[in-house]
Symmetry: C2
Subunit: 161 residues, 2 copies
DNA sequence: ACGTAAGACGAGTAATTTAGTAGGGTATGA
DNA sequence: TCATACCCTACTAAATTACTCGTCTTACGT
């Protein structure tokens, strides 16, 4: 059930691009540096996103990556589908699936369908813009008060259990 | 984001036990045979479920596995947690996690929290009894009409796309 | 008492997936 | 024409997943 690091890195990169949407392309070294990961790895992920029509590129000096459309119009679902291949928790409830051959005897299928529909609901209805807004908001609120990283960012509020 | 086969087999076995709840232990060969998987593999899964207090065992001839409590009181969440280790989609939103160190700079955390809560909601609120009921109902409705497996079970209804 | 049906347990392995690296190629602005 | 930056393929290493095997223990039935 875990999300791959692929998805996490890729999604964060897209949010980074959303934050800078409209102000020209952002280079790979910049994006990779921001997350502290290798350029080679992130490049692969961005290529998938380009294939899927989520990002566009500008080659040559001063080039880089940028979002194709407004981040408010871009769902998390679309981004994660490209990065993960599919957001289905089991193959037989995948949108493109022909249904599994053992569906007739699968006692958990009703559960899987329900679970998948809830997941898709969240992912569809959440836009990249929202993530960017949440992030900026959070950063603003706690700026200069982070005792963990000491970089103007912020620790999670203590868990209330 | 995929569920492991571990979880799928284990969950189905638990539903099998639910269907027979109250009528004595069910042997491993029976459970494994029903799903067409090896006894050795399923045994491992059942061992985890025993450790977690979900199933109980009776050794010796006529022995086998049985549910500890009423399937109506047993959530899918509990079963999957034992099989998967955790149902968290990312470590930093796990119940036992201390929060991740990069939480302060993680732009996707709000999404992950929301997603996780929806998932937990479904898994908590669905009982094994419900799965068993759904299954029996489905089987009853379509019995003798399965053109795929020819075993009295049922193909998925044609997808409406 | 003994044979046999059953679970208990630990170790080991094969296959698959994921994560990440390496290195050469191509476009473009200054 | 050089430096910057994307493009692409291939490869490898690590981790996870999905198993298998062998031996041991328990307990029913005769």
């Amino acid at each position: 059930m875990k999300l791959s690091t692929r998805s996490k890195y890729g999604l964060k990169a897209v949010v980074d691009l959303a934050i800078r949407y409209g102000s020209g392309p952002v280079s790979l070294p910049t994006l990779a540096g921001e997350q502290g990961i290798s350029e080679g790895y992130l490049e692969q992920l961005l290529r998938e996103l380009k294939k899927g029509g989520v990002v566009d590129t500008v080659r040559g000096a001063q080039g880089g990556y940028e979002l194709v459309c407004n981040p408010a119009e871009l769902s998390v679902q679309r981004v994660l589908s490209l990065l993960e291949g599919s957001t289905a928790v089991v193959d037989c409830v995948d949108i493109d699936s022909r249904g599994c051959t053992s569906a007739c005897t699968c006692s958990a299928r009703p559960l899987f369908l329900k679970l998948q529909s809830r997941i898709n609901d969240v992912l569809e209805k959440t836009s990249i813009q929202e993530l960017a807004d949440d992030y900026l908001e959070q950063k603003k609120r706690y700026d200069k008060s982070c005792s963990v990283c000491g970089q103007g960012a912020v620790p999670v509020p203590a868990r209330t259990r």
